[in-house]
Amino acid sequence: MSNEKPVQPEVDQEIDLALEKALGAPQAPPAPYVYDYKTSPNRQVVMPKTVPLSGLNAYLAEKAALEAAEEAKWQKAQADYAAAKAKAEAEGAPEPKAPVRVQPKKEPDLTVPVPSEAKDPDLLRLMALLGDGVEEAFEQSGELTCQVARERLLETLKLCREDAALKYEMLADETATHFPAAKDFAFSVVYHLTSISRSKRLRLRILIPEGFEPQSAVQVYAGANWLEREIFDMFGIRFQNHPDMTRILCPEDWEAHPLRKEYPVVGWGQRDVDFREDRSGMLNRIALEKAGQLGINLKRPKAE
């Protein structure tokens, strides 16, 4: 949006010039606008420390780490018991109490379903067709997820749409997530595919680092056009071969991308811009007062 000033009448220009001469040139506020975070700590940006990205490998690794920790704890308890027992025998004291291994509680039925191995024929077919292009495929609470290599995304989308056994005709949604705490990637871009003829849904996922430009899905699914523009607007991910890679929600001259984690909720101050021109004459009146204090006579009747 252009912030062009309206053409001011002669009197206003005179006042401006006189004031500028008397008080010095007006100073522009520092850019970009920064909030005083000490007075309003809630406006601070808190960066996440974890990577909440679901996946079978991540789940298995987490489970193995927990089991290893339990095992280490048990081994240490046993070693302590052996040492205490030897010490008691040497001193003739009564034998210490033996440690008891705590059995894990049986989980209630209301827990979140955990990811499991891919058994669905669609996922198996994708894995067979793409080979090592599939980084990870798993099922979770009946939802199919397939993470593919970011370079082979377009090939995968074409397969999903055109393969006779898959036939995912519709791209229901395309979106992204920012993971600033992850080491080898920054964003995940997710494609939600729907097969109307087979009543099935599939989620494709790619992980991309900062600055990577994935291939646009528009040539396979025309509906991806605006979805990718929204991703670009909100995250700053540019798509290759997209027909119109411009912002869709924010104004064209907006700075930064609002859904990134480092972006403060209240923004960088764009919304605090005062659009209001001097319609009530308040600024004019203040200028006249200041000019009067300085001994400058600027007042004259003005006809509309």
């Binding site: 929600l249 209240v266 923004g267 919304r271 659009f275 209001r276 004459g281």
Partner: protein, 169 residues
């Protein structure tokens, strides 16, 4: 010794001020701009429909063009992208014109203390009446409109030129 009987001339003539007649005619035929931004506009439509009948106050004629409207009811969230459009619409309205901010969002940003929402439409255009509520009921809109009518009735033609001309002493 009673009150003097009015003469025949006084029965057919009313003496008043031109300003008062102008204000009366303006206050009883305020044509709003049909302009809604969010859910408050639904309440504005309800106020205009048969149950609440905004037309009783002479303001039921929602105009589709800002050039024919006297009142802008800003009903809803003012996003940063919408702000210049609102300002342009306001500038296209002929004088005299009035603005009502309907609902929390238009008065102060409401729940949207966020990057995209302008914190009150008074950052863009001068507002005459603020109607709080999320969204306000049609009764609240009608009450706010009656307050605006009071304001119009009490306004003076000299107000606009008071800042420009020096007072006569």
């Amino acid at each position: 010794m009673g009150m003097r009987e009015p003469s025949i001339v006084e029965n057919i003539l009313i003496t008043t001020k031109v300003e008062k007649v102008l204000n009366w005619s303006r206050a009883t035929s305020v044509w709003p701009l049909s302009f809604g931004l969010a859910c408050c506009a639904i309440e504005m439509m309800a106020a205009g429909a048969a149950r609440f009948d905004f037309d009783r106050f002479g303001s039921g004629i929602f105009r589709a063009s800002p050039r024919q409207a006297d009142l802008m009811i800003v009903a809803g969230t003012v996003s940063y992208k919408m702000a210049p459009v609102i300002k342009q619409l306001y500038d296209q309205m002929p004088e005299p014109k009035w603005v009502m901010a309907l609902g929390s969002c238009a008065t102060c940003g409401g729940p949207f203390d966020s990057y995209h929402a302008v914190q009150g439409v008074d950052k863009i255009i001068p507002v005459d009446v603020y109607v709080p509520g999320c969204p306000p009921r049609p009764e609240a809109l009608i009450y706010g409109f009656m307050k605006l009518q009071d304001k119009i009735m009490n306004s003076s033609l000299a107000d606009r030129y008071r800042e420009v001309f020096e007072p006569v002493e």
